[in-house]
């Protein structure tokens, strides 16, 4: 009994020592967390950060990226260096870092699109919108199938909305619709086509073109009913009929059908509340 207990104890201690000493993925994650925490301190108050502190943290992140180049955290560290430079208004240094990332990961379009986006952001921070727009257009044309590439036309429209430039916003939304329609036609019945159609509906809503928005929502609902969850689009359609077109009868009809067809949907409570208000 004593011998069994002693063997078990030794095994536990041995396993614990082994677990604590190896430089495994967990140890790498731990190192990254502490490096990132130092960066977060700078992000919390970038303008009060002394230059030597910034250089020190950049050094920590740089050494981490060099030491573990094969891990995804290495890329995250490299992006953090760029973001630190931008946050502390070291725009040229930040853009150089992003250029390095683009060269290093030139074969990975998703990473490149994110780097170009941050490059564009750096110009936005300097209030140089034309130069930023140039970068964003580059993303739309060169990295159009990446998540960033797909969302970029909407980002541009949102910029004009925030800056209170309605004409430019309308034009950006029209351009976005054409872009998404091209994508949807080129890749029919794909995930990309589904995303494009939902974004088209959003663009029409942004333009307050409610009839076309309903048409776009109908396309999504009818084409993808069996392939993807469309309950959100049906409820959106009812909301447009009720609030924007003041057609309460159609809105009621849609909601009643929705409650009947999708009794297990997460939007059932919302639909019932809307219906109650309409009644």
């Amino acid at each position: 009994m004593k011998r069994t207990l002693a063997t078990f104890g030794i095994l536990v201690i041995f396993a614990a020592l082994l677990a604590g000493c190896t430089n495994d993925q967990y140890a790498i994650e731990k190192q990254f967390w502490y490096a990132q925490k130092q960066a977060d301190t700078i992000f919390a108050n970038p303008h009060a950060t002394p230059p030597n502190e910034l250089q020190r943290v950049i050094g920590v992140l740089g050494r981490f990226a060099q030491r573990y180049p094969e891990t995804p955290l290495s890329l995250e560290a490299e992006f953090t260096i760029a973001r630190l430079c931008l946050a502390t208004k070291e725009y040229d240094a930040g853009r150089k870092q992003l250029q390095r990332i683009m060269e290093k990961y030139s074969k990975n379009t998703a990473i490149c699109s994110e780097a170009v986006f941050l490059y564009g952001n750096s110009y936005e921070l300097q209030d140089k919108w034309p130069l930023a727009l140039e970068q964003y257009q580059k993303i739309i044309h060169e990295y159009q199938f990446t998540p960033r590439g797909i969302s970029m036309p909407m980002y541009i429209a949102e910029h004009y909305k925030v800056k209170f430039e309605p004409e430019k916003m309308r034009q950006a939304l029209q351009d976005a619709i054409s872009h998404y329609q091209t994508l949807a036609i080129r890749f029919p019945n794909s995930q990309l086509s589904f995303t494009a159609h939902t974004l088209i509906a959003q663009c029409y809503m942004g333009l307050q073109d409610w009839q076309n928005a309903i048409g776009a929502l109908d396309t999504v609902i009818n084409r993808y009913r069996t392939k993807a969850p469309v309950d959100e689009f049906i409820v959106n359609k009812a909301v447009i009929y009720s609030r924007e077109l003041n057609d309460k009868a159609t809105a009621k009809e849609i909601l009643q059908q929705f409650i009947k067809d999708y009794p297990r949907s997460g939007l059932i409570a919302t639909a019932k509340q809307l219906l109650k208000k309409l009644e």
Partner: protein
């Protein structure tokens, strides 16, 4: 006047407890052994995301809670839950035996004036199955009560209600849930607290022990609740810190959760469990004598 003939009071129970601990330091042993055992398990769980323990503990963690809890620092968010589960397991399999040993020592001190750890351990070993069954019932009841209260609250608020008794959902599902859990723990522990003293002092069957515990609880209602609640107050800071685990990780460092849990293990074993076990055992023995 012989203290054994007086109406048992909380003061009597605590006087007997502290006198016994002072005269026989072996009274600490069952709880110290349990604290060491729990600490070893906690360290194993802490090292679960790392090789070579990851090979064994990684798959269940991934299956039940998700891959992210095998990574730094998210593993520290899961650690309190894993620690509570391991405590349940240890309580049923080892805690039952050690509590039985502790109560047997209390009975020996009360009846013979002296106690030895090894003799009491032998006595407890002979009654292990009943001890195991009592702690299993308490643990399962406690687990089910917690599940029921949390599920009922979540279902109530998912159904669209925003308030319950004029209190918003955020409070019910946050700090109030912790208080409810604590209250449930106190009531269940108080209800069954005399089952082991009944077993060790009177050598009764399982059902009789449970029945005796209920009767004693009814007769000593207020005293029992106080004897169970007072030591648990010492554990409150640990509950509050565990509840704010995410905040602690963000503001300090992730390893602080391990430090808090280790402190919790020792406070729970050497203060809460020790005081509740001995004080209720002595109160039961005094109550039995009075009867």
């Amino acid at each position: 006047m012989n203290p054994q003939n007086q109406t048992p009071t909380i003061k009597n129970a605590y006087t007997q407890t502290f006198r016994a601990i002072r005269s026989t330091p072996e009274f600490f042993w069952p709880f110290f052994i349990f604290a060491i055992l729990e600490s070893v398990f906690l360290l194993i769980l802490f090292l679960a995301p790392r090789e070579p323990l990851r090979l064994v503990l990684g798959p269940p963690i991934r299956t039940f809670w998700g891959e992210r809890f095998l990574h730094y620092p998210a593993n520290f968010l899961l650690l309190p839950k894993l620690s509570s589960l391991s405590r349940m397991f240890l309580s049923v399999f080892f805690g039952s035996l050690l509590t039985g040993t502790a109560v047997a020592m209390a009975v020996d001190v009360f009846t013979k004036g002296k106690a030895r750890f090894d003799n009491s351990l032998k006595t407890a070993l002979k009654k292990y199955l009943v001890l195991f069954a009592i702690i299993l019932v308490v643990t399962v009841l406690f687990y089910l009560a917690l599940r029921f209260s949390s599920t009922a609250l979540v279902k109530y608020f998912i159904a669209g209600h925003r308030k319950l008794l004029f209190i918003p959902a955020a409070l019910w599902l946050g700090p109030l849930a912790v208080i409810i859990n604590l209250a449930v723990a106190i009531v269940i522990q108080a209800l069954f607290t005399y089952a082991i003293p009944a077993l060790m002092a009177e050598n009764q069957r399982f059902i009789t022990c449970i029945f005796r515990s209920f009767v004693a609880f009814k007769d000593l209602f207020g005293k029992t609740l106080l004897l169970v609640t007072l030591p648990i107050l010492a554990y409150l800071p640990i509950i509050v810190l565990n509840y704010n685990a995410a905040f602690l990780i963000r503001k300090a460092f992730p390893e602080i959760i391990l430090i808090v849990l280790l402190a919790g293990v020792f406070i729970s074993a050497l203060v809460v469990d020790l005081l509740i076990t001995y004080s209720t055992a002595f109160l039961y023995l005094l109550y039995r004598n009075k009867k």
